[in-house]
Amino acid sequence: MTSDAKIRANRRNALRSSGPRTAEGKARSRQNARKHGLSVPLGTDDPEVRELTEVYAQTELGGSGRDMIRSTAKAQCEVVRVQQTRVNIINRQIERMTDDGDQAITSGERIAKAIVAIVPDLEALGRYERRAQSRLRRKLPKLHEE
């Protein structure tokens, strides 16, 4: 049980520190709760989306409209984003293990050991992956019909 004196001291100290004041500090603390950023949908002005839209719009000869191609490119970028997030998480864990003097013999074993350590994180990505995949899948028949 925290004593009253301690609570009072904490409140006094909290008044003295009211969070980050500089723009840099605020920008950093804004990202405190960010885990992977997958819950935020990609915007159509995202550079990846724009670039892929350009490629597909230039090469698709069917009668697909620009909006349709843009939304397909966006859906595909979201799928790729989830895949790359998974790869990044595993890679970072492998790097951490190597730094800690891991004695894994083969790279397959190293990958397996890394995945063992981060299963909860990877499981959390499943939801985003399913969502992104189904979004993309829904677009394809429409694109094909056009």
Binding site: T106, S107, P141
Partner: protein, 384 residues
Amino acid sequence: MSHSIRPDGEIHLPTPEVKERPSAPAATVFMPREAPSQNGLDDRSAVAADAFAASSASGIEALLDSPAHAMLPANPNDALAKLPHTPSLPAEGAAAQHAKAQKVDFLSLSTASNIDSSLHQAFTAAPLQKQVETLDRLADTISPRIGRMIRGAFRHPPVIVGQAVEDYYELANAAIDEFIPHGLPEVLLLKAIVDDEWLITTFSQVRRSLLNAAIAAALVDRLRDRDGDADGQSSEGGKSQSQRQWRRTVFAAVSGDEAMRSLVEEHVGRIGFDAFAAKRLLEDIRTHIFADNVINAALKRRNSAIRQLGQMQEARYKNVIIRAEKLKTMASAEKWQSHLKSLTDLNKDRSSTELAGMNQSSLEQASVGGSNELSERQFEESRE
């Protein structure tokens, strides 16, 4: 392949007979520790994307006209290709790295059978550039337009450190060769098929590695206990050294090295999945379940994508047939029309001559009729 145990107890593994080559792109492509980029794509992908962006600055007209080899630099994976092969170290450093790689091979890899996928790839497979060229060649064989689309879709390979990018592109090439996509929806479905297949391969390897690790760990425990009991070793250093040695031997045995296998079986009996291994496996059971789920989901997605792609291609084929039939009909209709026209012309000629003939006969008939009328009139006048 022979092995020997030295008097000091150290197990001497023979030199591998496979062709040695410094490899493991894993060591050169480690991810930095900084936070991921804004859109979550890794740095290798970013490098690839940069290269791709530079290449995509050119217009589509030029791309459509350019031959396949001229489009090679446009590939974003050229940047990836340079990563494992760029000699960033001086000559001595490279030599030392090569020697280190050989040492590691000597210690841990007794035969090709226990060489992991990336090392095996480095030993046997063609360089990445060749794979990329094959991708380009295949893609451009279909058409430069589809080639560009394929490169756009496949520019972020989901390859983990330790895996070979070449494997991924080999898989992509095989899929392109098999399905030959036409149009954006088919290219995207193809990408989904390749990614799911890659995921299935990756997690199958993970599952196999975990199983092997559980069997090996159980064996190492038994061997260490047996050694400890026999030698009466009490020092931690001695135990850990013995454990390391047994670990190498056991992993080689579990991975399929017959010599190591017989060596281990001499000490602990038949190698296999037993109660000890099951006990070790339970420690990682959540990962097994996760790997199973990932594989099952990827299998479902892949099969569904293959089905969908088949339907699209069938529809395209049907469309082509329908279009061909229409053209055929139109062509035959044209023929028929021309035939009809010629017939009409003929009829016109015939009708004019017939009409002329008919007029003549009618005149004759009329004249005959007239004569009849005249004779009748003459007959009536005579009667009056």
